[in-house]
C-alpha cells in the first residue's frame, strides 16, 4: 500500500498561462485548503495569475514551478496578514467552528471543524506544509518547491506542524 502511494505521480500544478477550468479549479482548491474560504481563495489565485503573467519563463516547467510557488507565497502573505490581525482562523473555519452550524454531513462533524480550526492555528509556513502534504498529497520535494525551502526544511515544517496538530487533537478525542 505504501509502495503504491510512493510510486503514484504527485499532482502537478497547472500552467498559469493556460489555466483551463480544471486547472483553475485545482488552483482554487489548493488555495481554499491554504487560506480557508473559497472567495478568498479565488482572490489568491487571481493575484497569482497576475504575478505569473508579469514574468518571463524559460519553459513550461519553470512556469509551473513558479505558479505553485507564487500561489503558496500569496497564500502565505494572506495567512500572515490574518495572523497579524489576530484573525488566526479564517472566516471560513471560524464561521464553522464557532457556529456549529453545518451545511453538509462532513461539516456537521465536530471533529472535522476542530481539525480545521487546529490547522488554522498553525504558523503560516507549517500550515502550508501540512496542507500541501496531507490535503494536497504533495511529496516533500513539491512542498519544498512551493515554499521555496530545502527538502529538509519542508520536512521539518511538516513534522512540526503535524506534531502541533497532534497536541491540539488528543487521541482520545479522535
Amino acid at each position: 500500500m505504501e509502495q503504491a502511494a510512493e510510486t503514484q505521480d504527485p499532482p502537478q500544478p497547472p500552467r498559469p498561462d493556460d489555466l483551463s477550468s480544471g486547472d483553475r479549479s485545482w488552483a482554487c482548491d489548493v488555495a481554499v485548503r491554504l487560506v480557508g474560504g473559497r472567495a478568498l481563495a479565488e482572490d489568491m489565485v487571481q493575484e497569482t495569475i497576475l504575478k505569473v503573467m508579469e514574468r518571463r519563463f524559460e519553459g513550461q516547467e519553470e512556469r509551473r514551478r513558479y505558479f505553485l510557488r507564487a500561489l503558496t507565497n500569496t497564500c502565505l502573505s494572506e495567512l500572515r496578514r490574518q495572523r497579524s490581525e489576530q484573525h488566526v482562523l479564517s472566516d471560513h473555519a471560524q464561521e464553522r467552528a464557532s457556529s456549529g452550524e453545518a451545511t453538509d454531513p462532513l461539516e456537521r462533524h465536530e471533529l472535522a471543524a476542530r481539525v480545521r480550526a487546529a490547522v488554522a492555528k498553525l504558523a503560516p509556513r507549517q500550515r502550508v506544509a501540512v496542507v500541501l502534504k496531507f490535503w494536497e498529497g504533495f511529496d516533500t520535494r513539491q512542498v519544498a518547491e512551493a515554499l521555496g525551502v530545502s527538502e529538509s526544511g519542508a520536512a521539518t515544517l511538516a513534522y512540526r506542524g503535524f506534531t502541533r496538530l497532534r497536541a491540539e487533537l488528543p487521541e482520545e478525542d479522535l
Partner: protein, 490 residues
C-alpha cells in the same frame, strides 16, 4: 583527525540530535548550527527527510492523519447540486416567470443608462453623469441582428465576486454615483476561458459574437483585422477594474496561445478613456508596462467606440471590428460592443458579476423600460457570472454563445448543432444533470427541445433570494426542498 572524520563526527552528532532539532528542544544557537549543517550536508538533509517520512507514517499517528485527511475543506464543500434521486423539476410555461428576464435585463439597462450611456447625453433625473457616450441604448439594441452563429461549447469562469465598492453602492438602496476613489481596493477579476474561446464574426456586417468559435469569416473591416489576430490562435480573458493608476476600469485581454503576445485594452469606467497596450511577451520589457494612452486628446464626453475608432490614433488591430467598453464598478462587469464598417456600434453582451437580485431590487423603475426590450438572461457557469444578451430577431433559437432563447415564446432553445454534437437529447439531459445538478423534462407537445431558462440554468446558479424575488414579482410562491426550488401558483 581527517576532514572526512570531522564530517562524520558532525553528521553523527546531528543524527543523535535529530529529534531534539525537529521538536525544537535545542537552544537557538544549536538550532541555527544544525540548520547550517543541513544546508551543507545533503546526506543529513536526506536522512532528515527520510526519518520524518517514516515518523509521519507510523501507525500510532493514524488517527490524527485520518482525521486530518477527513477534514479537508475542499472535500467538505457541498456544491449546489440536486441529488440524483430528487424530484424532477416541473416544467410549465404558464408558471414561467418570464417577467424576471425582462426585469433583469431592464435593471441592467438602467445601470447602463445611469452610469454611462445616455440617449441624449443627459443624466437621469437627480443623478450625476459619470460618463457620456453619444449613442443610445435603443439604437444599440435595435441594431442587433439574428444569427445564425456558430456554437461554442467553451465556458468560462470568473475569479471573484462583488468587491466592497460594489457592495457599498448596491446595498445603499439606490443606484447612485460611485466615486472612483471610493473603491481604492477594487481588485481585478480575471475570466479565463476553458477551451480556446474565440471572438468571431457572424454573417451580418456589424457584430462580434461572444463565445462563437471559430471565426467564420474575416473581419469586414480593413487592415490587419482582429479576425486574423484570432485565427492565429488567441485566447481571451477579461479582467476587472485595473489600470496603471489604480483607477477602476475594465480590461480586455487577448493572449496568444503561443504565449508570446498579448493585447490589452483598458477602459476607464469613470471617463471612458481607453488605454491600449499590445506587447510581445518575449522581449525584455515587463509584461505589464506603463500603458500608452492612445486617445488622451478625447474629452471623456466624446468617447465612444466609434469616436475611438475614428480618432485615427488606434492601431490597426483595434480596427478589426472590436471595441469594448466597461461600466462603473456597480454590478456590470463589462459590456462588449461590435462595430461595423460604418462605425455603428452594437451591443453584444452585458455581463455582471453581481447577484442580479441585488440589481433588480435596486432598480424597480426599469420594470417599465423592459417592456420594449428583448433581452435574455443566461449564465454559462455555476459561478458568479450572469449575462444579458439582446436577442431581438433571433428567428430560430440559434443565438449568441452556447445557448439561446426565444424570448417571445419564452422558450429556451438548444441549437440543433449543439444537440447533435452532444449526441442527442439524453446527452443534453446528462449535461444539465452533471453541470447544474438539475433534472429536466420536456414540455409535452413541443416539436423541439425547449426549456424555460429560470427553471433550468437559472435555478442551478441563482441564489434563493433571487428566486424569491422572481416569485414575488410574479405572484408566485417559492417552495424549497433542499436545493430544489419550485414555483407554485398560490
Amino acid at each position: 583527525m581527517t576532514e572526512s572524520q570531522d564530517q562524520a563526527s558532525v553528521c553523527a552528532l546531528f543524527r543523535a540530535e535529530l529529534w531534539d532539532y525537529l521538536d525544537a528542544d535545542l537552544d537557538a544557537q544549536r538550532l541555527a548550527q544544525i540548520e547550517v549543517h543541513l544546508e551543507a550536508c545533503p546526506e543529513c538533509s536526506a536522512y532528515l527527510v527520510e526519518q520524518v517520512g517514516i515518523e509521519l507514517e507510523r501507525p500510532e499517528h493514524g488517527a490524527v492523519t485520518r482525521a486530518l485527511v477527513a477534514a479537508d475543506p475542499v472535500a467538505a464543500e457541498s456544491p449546489l447540486r440536486v441529488p440524483a434521486s430528487s424530484p424532477v423539476l416541473p416544467f410549465n410555461l404558464n408558471r414561467v416567470p418570464k417577467a424576471a428576464l425582462w426585469i433583469a435585463a431592464a435593471a441592467l439597462l438602467l445601470v447602463l443608462v445611469r452610469f454611462g450611456i445616455y440617449p441624449t447625453g443627459r443624466a437621469p433625473a437627480g443623478g450625476p453623469a459619470m460618463g457620456r457616450v453619444p449613442w443610445d441604448v435603443e439604437r444599440v439594441l435595435a441594431s442587433m441582428r439574428a444569427g445564425p452563429f456558430e456554437v461554442n461549447s467553451a465556458t468560462y469562469s470568473l475569479a471573484r465576486g462583488p468587491n466592497p465598492a460594489e457592495a457599498e453602492v448596491l446595498y445603499s438602496g439606490r443606484l447612485r454615483r460611485v466615486s472612483v476613489k471610493s473603491s481604492p481596493d477594487a481588485k481585478p477579476s480575471v475570466m479565463v476561458d476553458q477551451a480556446g474561446m474565440r471572438w468571431a464574426y457572424d454573417a451580418s456586417a456589424h457584430s462580434l459574437v461572444f463565445g462563437a468559435s471559430p471565426p467564420t469569416r474575416p473581419s469586414p473591416l480593413d487592415g490587419p483585422a482582429l479576425a486574423a489576430y484570432l485565427q492565429n490562435g488567441y485566447d481571451l480573458s477579461y479582467a476587472g477594474p485595473v489600470d496603471e493608476q489604480g483607477v477602476p476600469c475594465h480590461h480586455l485581454t487577448a493572449n496568444s496561445q503561443s504565449g508570446d503576445e498579448r493585447l490589452d485594452l483598458f477602459i476607464n469606467t469613470a471617463t471612458g478613456l481607453v488605454h491600449r497596450s499590445a506587447q510581445r511577451i518575449g522581449n525584455e520589457a515587463p509584461l505589464i508596462q506603463k500603458l500608452r494612452r492612445v486617445n488622451s486628446d478625447l474629452a471623456p464626453d466624446a468617447f465612444s467606440p466609434t469616436s475611438y475608432l475614428q480618432s485615427g490614433a488606434t492601431p490597426a488591430v483595434d480596427r478589426g471590428g472590436l471595441a469594448a467598453a466597461g461600466l462603473s464598478p456597480v454590478g456590470v462587469s463589462n459590456f462588449l460592443i461590435g462595430v461595423d464598417d460604418k462605425g455603428q456600434a452594437a451591443l453584444i453582451q452585458l455581463s455582471t458579476t453581481s447577484w442580479p437580485s441585488t440589481i433588480l431590487s435596486l432598480a424597480p423603475e426599469l420594470l417599465e423600460h423592459l417592456a420594449n426590450s428583448e433581452t435574455i438572461f443566461y449564465t454559462t457557469t455555476r459561478e458568479r457570472n450572469f449575462s444579458f444578451v439582446p436577442t431581438s430577431g433571433y428567428p430560430s433559437g440559434a443565438g449568441a454563445g452556447e445557448w439561446a432563447m426565444d424570448t417571445k415564446a419564452g422558450r429556451y432553445l438548444v441549437p440543433a448543432e449543439k444537440l447533435r454534437s452532444l449526441g442527442g437529447l439524453e446527452d443534453l439531459r446528462q449535461l444539465f444533470r452533471s453541470e447544474y445538478g438539475l433534472q429536466i423534462e420536456l414540455e409535452a407537445g413541443l416539436a423541439e427541445p425547449a426549456w424555460v431558462l429560470p427553471e433550468v440554468l437559472g435555478i442551478g446558479v441563482m441564489s434563493g433570494n433571487l428566486l424569491r424575488f422572481i416569485a414575488s414579482n410574479n405572484d408566485l410562491e417559492l417552495e424549497q426542498d433542499g436545493n430544489t426550488f419550485r414555483f407554485v401558483r398560490p
